[in-house]
Symmetry: C2
Subunit: 456 residues, 2 copies
């Protein structure tokens, strides 16, 4: 018996040394037998925990059927390693056994040269299928499709349809849904397997159809596919071209992966890390450096403007050095409030909770929230500044706090919308961009208020 | 024909005025008929777009079967509104028609008093089921369960099992998987519906079983359920108690919602927004204020330490005011690098990409990345500072940049691990916490280096 996560990890750690002992002792047949009795997800997890040399060795001990399934569950770097260490015929078999959507995922992540080599190993038919799927744009619904689905004829009875499934269905990716197409291949309806089974055997299919179905377009963004799956609560959605012709299906298990990848990408972008497109643990030092240094360096250059802003008020600072004590306090609060606002909006945009029509209403609500927060923070900072710098400085700091938190917050509200209108991803670096903008504005507001009130 | 997202929105906007016209004209029977022909997800989207009064009116025109399905697709505030505006008997019907997992989700989000009232409307049996599900801890797998699944007997043939499904299956949440339990109710195996269908009718069920299954525990955290679904690529997973007794199943469509909610929670926590637990668009001004002000105010107080740090170096600042120009540049870079590091780690922990055993290896890689980034930024800032403040200041700024980016980065690496060891959620406020810590350390490092080099 198997348990998911947590307990299966314990299982694995207990087994790992035993297997390695068997390998050491050269009892490869025992290992082969042991592995054949394990389910694919457990073997994939086991292989991931091994060193390169042992990973290749163990993978080659899997029988053909299991090898394909395990391979499809591994991360791209592990897949790449295995491909490099297998004979051409072994590679051909593994690639041929992958389902079309897993194959597309592999091909799009490998270097172009390697993909080309792998494509040449496929049969003409399989190569054509692979190239068709690869021809859809990156991150489009088309890339997630599999063409392993079953169509049924509305003229059949439920029993005939089930016989048909028995005859052709072994290869299909999911059998929770069957599809009805017309002579031109256009989707006209879909039928849940559940309905088919629950129907009396002699019921005509046409009686079970309702003419309603939800579908995706092959060129839609894959984020929209996630939202569609959430809305319709289905396990598979059909994919159509512009003429309504059924091209393939997308299944819920792939959508869960897409949802996680998209969220991870947004997390990284918000913190100015360029998308890694691989497991964080597997990323090399050099890759991490390249993905992180760009925005950091750019922000350093942008921060120069904050420095120039401060330079404008050199004399005021010389006169009242105590003003500097409160500089980080003010610009940080402004930046923090702005990050809150932008994160709320960026995430709500990504999940489809808000759309373009909502801006105006959201803006005015945000003005209200900002005002309430600015007042609260102004109140708190008045007492902190009073204790550290006297009553006059307290007035300056408190008034500045009100202004900079308001400005920072509204910057955080507006920036994602502007990025979106300019057709950038609103998640792009918005937190540090807002911090930097809030810095410049904060410095100007703070020292202007100080010069006015303190007459310096 | 229906299309998902994007196009369905257009469809809706075209229909909305027509429906409202019919309502105005008092042609409620026509509206009733029109709605009866629409699928539930479309009606739910339509209701969401309406004003309160119209929403209640239209909902009451739905037939009973549709009403239950539409209700389960609405957000909690909309559900609450409808419940308040229905007669007791109507409420009873809607609640009774919900599937157990949807009912749990509704009950746990409504105020306790309302939930109590609704529970009293259920039949004794249904109330007992509801209370059992509600007795599982918040965010546990138990809360996601439905007890609508089908068990089969290994002694049956495939045809007998299919007959059994036909007899009892209409009410089951998912029919992609059937389960085999022993006399004590312990799960002994699972069988995909697909295998059952593809088998010859006279095949005994026992021949189709393989003794392998993956299962969740009712008390596991729901985040672990998401990871299990990703690992096993299944549409449903069984849930067991400590003795292995089958309690219910969790389906992939709910898991997609959980994955999105958990990611949204982490986004918000990273930006110091307390979990909203509702649609951002529906949140009131007061709620948003309460969810955001706590951490902002706390960080203002913490920032006082930065101010005190600067105060230590009052004389140095008076002597060389130009030092202040570079203060935001340095502390921002330190904070930005730290946020990058912590976001990478927090997200990798949430997705299960890294586990406790990986810390040591990751730490040393991060030291390497930090060193490379610090050197690069020190190099860039040298020239910026040279242009703005002369060669001596450039040395101070450049050296400080190297030190503060290194320190900020390592703080960002270590803080999530410490939060995790202290059993806090590592996502909690880590970005602004790191900014604040980086500020204090940055100020001390920068002005110490300045005092030493410039001899002030």
């Amino acid at each position: 018996m198997l348990e998911a996560i947590g307990e299966s990890m314990i299982l694995r750690h207990l087994l790992l040394p035993d297997i390695l002992d068997l390998v050491e002792a050269g009892r490869l047949n025992d290992v082969r037998e042991f592995l054949a009795a394990q389910p694919a997800p457990e073997i994939a997890e086991l292989l991931t925990a091994l060193e390169d040399r042992e990973r290749v060795l163990l993978f080659r001990l899997l029988n053909r059927h299991l090898a394909g399934e395990v391979f499809s569950l591994l991360e791209t770097p592990a897949q790449d390693l295995l491909l490099k260490n297998m004979a051409q015929e072994e590679v051909r078999q593994v690639i041929a056994d992958l389902s079309p959507d897993d194959r597309t995922a592999l091909f799009e992540e490998l270097p172009a040269q390697v993909t080309k080599g792998l494509l040449s190993l496929l049969s003409d038919d399989e190569r054509k299928r692979a190239l068709t799927l690869l021809s859809y744009p990156d991150e489009s619904v088309g890339r997630l499709m599999t063409d392993r689905y079953v169509t049924i004829d509305p003229q059949w009875t439920a029993a005939q349809a089930l016989d048909h499934l028995r005859a052709v269905g072994t290869d299909s990716e999911t059998l929770t849904m069957t599809y009805v197409v017309d002579a031109k291949g256009r989707l006209t309806d879909e039928l849940r397997l559940r309905k088919l089974i629950l129907a009396q055997p002699d019921t005509p299919i046409s009686k079970l159809l309702d003419g309603h179905f939800a579908a995706l377009r092959s060129l839609q963004d894959r984020e929209e596919a996630v939202q569609a799956f959430q809305k319709y609560d289905l396990f598979a959605l059909p994919v159509l071209d512009a003429d309504g012709v059924l091209l393939g299906i997308v299944t819920a298990d792939d959508i869960l992966d897409v949802a996680e990848e998209e969220a991870t990408e947004d997390f990284h972008k918000l913190a100015t890390v360029s998308p890694l497109q691989m497991n964080f643990k597997e990323a090399s030092l050099g890759l991490l450096y390249r993905k992180r240094i760009g925005w950091l360096a750019g922000l350093v250059v942008m921060s120069t403007f904050t420095g120039l802003g401060i330079k404008l008020f050199e004399d005021a600072i010389s006169a009242v050095v105590a003003l500097v004590f409160f500089l980080p306090l003010l610009i940080d609060s402004s930046g923090n409030a702005g990050s809150q606002a932008s994160t709320l909006i960026v995430r709500a945009m990504a999940t489809g909770d808000i759309s373009h029509g909502d801006w105006r209403k959201l803006f005015w609500r945000e003005v209200g929230v900002s005002a309430a927060m600015s007042l609260t923070l102004a109140f708190i900072s008045f007492f902190l500044a009073w204790a550290m710098g006297g009553l006059q400085v307290a007035f300056v700091v408190s008034l500045s706090m009100f202004a900079v938190v308001l400005v920072g917050n509204l910057t955080g509200t507006i920036l994602p919308v502007i990025l979106d209108k300019l057709e950038f991803d609103p998640a792009t670096a918005s937190t540090p961009l807002i911090t930097t903008i809030a810095d410049v504005l904060g410095v100007l507001i703070y020292f202007s208020i100080a010069t006015l009130i303190l007459q310096i």
